[in-house]
């Protein structure tokens, strides 16, 4: 697509949107947000990038193939459920770790790991779909 406004705004938009998506991902556990919504926001950043720069540039920017990213995310999400096996709990039971040096840190848990996995699945899958649609044009 050839639009001066889009071309100028893309670098700022993409950077800010990715940053915002990570913010949404991390705040997600107790307030609105989370891996899925964060992933959608992140994928929209790559969508803007793809519309402006083309599929090949996005592929370079993502380093790994989007499907591989989604697979990696699914693997993390699955493993986060297995962690409870070690503690004798049921599958997918959340496990928290409150380290002595930072007892108020609420992010060291399998739940956040699961959310990160979901984030990667959503980003990978949606970017793969967008690339598929763009390539057939």
């Amino acid at each position: 697509m050839n639009s001066l406004i889009l071309r100028t705004a893309t670098p700022f938009l993409v950077g800010l949107t990715v940053l915002f998506s990570i913010f949404v991902l991390l705040r997600g556990h107790n307030v609105p947000g989370g891996g899925f919504i964060g992933g959608l926001v992140g994928a929209s950043a790559f969508a803007i990038y793809t519309i402006n720069e083309g599929v090949a540039a996005t592929r370079r920017a993502m380093i790994a193939h989007p499907v591989a990213i989604a697979g990696f995310g699914l693997f993390i999400a699955g493993l986060s459920g297995v962690a409870s096996l070690v503690f004798g709990d049921a599958f997918m039971t959340g496990q928290w770790w409150f380290p002595a040096f930072a007892p108020d840190l609420k992010y060291l848990s399998t739940v956040v790991l699961f959310d990160i996995g979901v984030y990667l699945v959503v980003v990978g899958a949606i970017v793969a779909i967008i690339m598929g649609l763009e390539e057939t044009e």
């Binding site: 899925f36 899958a125 779909i129 598929g132 649609l133 057939t136």
Partner: protein
Amino acid sequence: MEAAFSIVVGALFAVSVYLLLSGSLIRLLLGIFVLGNATHLLIFVAGRLMRNAPPLIPDGLKVADTVIANPLPQALILTAIVISFSLFSFLLVLAYRAYQSLDTVNTDEMRDAEPMPVPTILRGSDV
């Protein structure tokens, strides 16, 4: 309130059935989309409408102290939306591929997988 929503659900189903009966892939796609949304609304109504309070438990409590909306249908709908969204995007790509490789979006003309049968008669001497 539920009666009004039920009528809306019924109207949406009617629209989707009308679209699904069409022979064009694009209308079929739209029909699937409306069908999905009608279903989500149906689950929402089936879970009873509650407008007093959002399904959030106040800080410091384990159980809500007032009547709150039923969160389960919302969770079901969210799941269903995610699924129907991904399936719809697949169908969109598939319909586009079908248009490219079959050169038609009319379902009556899509007969590659099921060509019209050409009757052949096998004589006894062939067997």
